[in-house]
Amino acid sequence: MEQFFKDPSIYTFVRGPLLWLAFLVFFLGIFYRIATTLREAKKEKIVYPYLSLRYTLRSLFRWLIPYGSISMRRHPWFTAITFLFHICLIAVSLFLVAHVELWYESWEIRWWTLPVSLADGMTLIVIFCIILLILRRLFQSDIRFLTSSSDYLVLTLVALPFITGFFAHHELVLEYKTMLTIHMLSGEIMLMAIPFTKLSHMFMFFLTRAHTGSEFGAVRHSRDF
């Protein structure tokens, strides 16, 4: 923040105030989306009375471990791709040295970091998985039928921070600082988009699984996995 006031530039803006704004929108946005959903769900007579912690946990467990559900076992490749993709994406965002350093600079907190070369590899995996996901949308008939341009937009939103981060780290294409600025900017846009686009599946997953898991377990006495 201070840096921006001392030396206002796009770089310091993206690194200071905009980052703040991005996190604010991200957290408040998620809070708002969850709160409104929980409030609206009250109107549905069949949601709250049947929620069951046991079956919510059963459902989450089955769908968070690789190949825990029949659906994942029937789609071995897609499951492998999505798990790799999500694990790498989250790990790199949270445990990249450069990211953790930023937290330390502002808040003096620090946590475990990924070895640089591993993080680099994981970044490539994320990019590679996104390419596969795009190809799947383009060539698999049932998915092409469902896909609209917004789905590609969302994939692009996620791909940009990783591609630019990779380029910046290896000082490719553009000069380091410019690339880093684009990287931070794209990351911030992605963060802000999470609550309000299909990326909201990141947290909505837990709500829909709670309902469906409870409905299957407590009411239908059968499996939702």
Partner: protein
């Protein structure tokens, strides 16, 4: 991929739409979207990642050479997404297409829900569209007719109360030829069990009712059947998402039970009615759970066999396979009880794959069979995968403890030349059980 279908005429849909204009359609849509549906609709539509994990779970997709327009999310796209994209400003042709998809290309079996990583309730999304069609009145004629019959008589086939009483009486007389002093008690107070029958069992399939009565007599159950309307457990209004009538039917059943002061309600082998009786209707009426036990035939037979109230004299030796009706297995986990019963009745059981709560729907459920002759080919085509699944077992007998599965598989059998017999548990048990000497006439 285009939506290509052979034209089908159904006066219930076509004629209704002639009388309706787009304004009224919009009003019906707005009502459902703004007044009835809320969090679930919104969250499910927004959270779908269009990942296609649900695609191959649906027997309609598999039976139609992997045509994406038959895939679960594909059907959602062509109906509710379309309605939402157009903000409810849809044409009559659109409604016709939606009605066709939701009434004749989805059985609301919820198998796809088990395959979605987010647990998106695709069947719920498609039933929101059924509800819209219901408010417009654009529902297959046969379902409309049965729902109307339910409104007036609480049974599905315009049967009058005196006809019911008459039928029960002559069935009792006939049963006396097999069981000495057989009784079908009518309107008896304080009995243990109130038995409800399937509408068809009072008219075309009376043998099934007689067999149930035979089992009741041999097992010495303290039972009764209703002496008023409300004897038919079916609930065809449910298929149209006509919740008001659906609730009224379930309410009538419980009212009869309260009036006769019975301990529990027992019904025969039917799927949808069990689901409405045990929770769908119960929830609509504002109860959390059924106020008195509401027992399905499978559960009832399971207890009779476990407690030794009936004994099986000999077992079937021919290879049999088990059809798991969605409404009692995926919707109520009765697969184990069903298997226990079958193991007591048959020597040689060959399971289908997939089975139990992952089983494929018979393609007749969710109102597809009730949509009538106009839509018969839709369910026969959609049942191709079911026919193959049964053929692969090599079984000669399919045990299907559900009226809809039963008829649906019989039709598949005829069309795909599967060479099987489809049987109810009631008939098999009545046939194989020991009849104590003193009960023989």
């Amino acid at each position: 991929m285009e939506f290509k279908r052979k034209p089908v005429t159904d006066i219930g849909i076509d004629e209704t739409l002639k009388r309706f204009d787009e304004d009224k359609i919009k009003r019906a849509i707005d009502w459902v979207l703004n007044r009835e549906a809320s969090a679930r609709l919104k969250v499910f539509v927004e959270t779908c990642m269009r990942c296609g994990m649900c695609t191959t779970s649906c027997h309609h997709y598999l039976s139609h050479d992997q045509d994406p327009t038959y895939a679960p999310a594909g059907k959602v796209k062509q109906t509710i997404w379309d309605i939402l994209n157009k903000k409810g400003n849809v044409t009559k042709e659109d409604i016709k297409k939606y009605a066709r998809i939701v009434f004749s290309e989805c059985n609301l079996c919820r198998r796809c829900v088990q395959f979605c990583p987010f647990g998106i309730d695709i069947a719920y999304l498609l039933s929101v569209v059924r509800r819209i069609c219901c408010l417009i009145g654009a529902v297959p004629q046969y379902i409309q007719d049965q729902a109307l019959s339910h409104m007036q008589t609480t049974n599905m086939l315009w049967f009058r109360q005196d006809e019911w009483l008459d039928t029960v009486q002559w069935l009792e007389d006939e049963l006396k030829a097999e069981i000495k002093d057989a009784k079908i008690p009518v309107g008896k107070k304080n009995a243990e069990v109130l038995y409800l029958a399937h509408g068809l069992e009072a008219k075309y399939m009376t043998g099934l009712l007689t067999n149930m009565a035979k089992i009741m007599n041999v097992a010495k159950i303290d039972w009764t059947v209703p002496d008023t309307d409300g004897w038919d457990y079916t609930n065809k209004a449910f298929y149209a998402c006509d919740f008001e009538t659906m609730g009224k039917i379930v309410k009538t059943h419980y009212e009869v039970a309260f009036r006769l002061n019975v301990k529990k309600i027992v019904m025969g082998e039917c799927g949808h009615a069990f689901r409405t009786g045990i929770y769908e209707g119960v929830r609509y009426l504002g109860w959390k759970e059924s106020p008195i036990p509401y027992i399905h035939g499978v559960h009832f037979f399971y207890e009779l066999l476990k407690e030794g109230r009936i004994k099986i004299a000999k077992k079937i030796e021919e290879p049999v396979t088990i059809q798991d009706p969605c409404n009692i297995v995926r919707y109520r986990g009765m697969g184990k009880m069903l298997r226990y019963i079958v193991s007591q009745l048959c020597e040689n059981i060959i399971e289908m794959t997939p089975k139990d709560d992952h089983n494929y729907c018979c393609s007749a459920g969710g109102g597809m069979i009730d949509a009538g002759p106009a839509w018969k080919s839709a369910r026969i085509e959609g049942g191709k995968i079911k026919a193959e699944q049964i053929k692969d077992t090599g079984a000669k007998i399919v045990i299907a403890p559900c009226h809809t599965c039963h008829k649906g598989i019989e039709d598949l059998n005829e069309y795909y030349k599967m060479g099987v017999h489809v049987k109810f548990l009631t008939d098999i048990i009545a046939d194989l059980m020991e009849i104590p000497e003193e009960m023989k006439p």
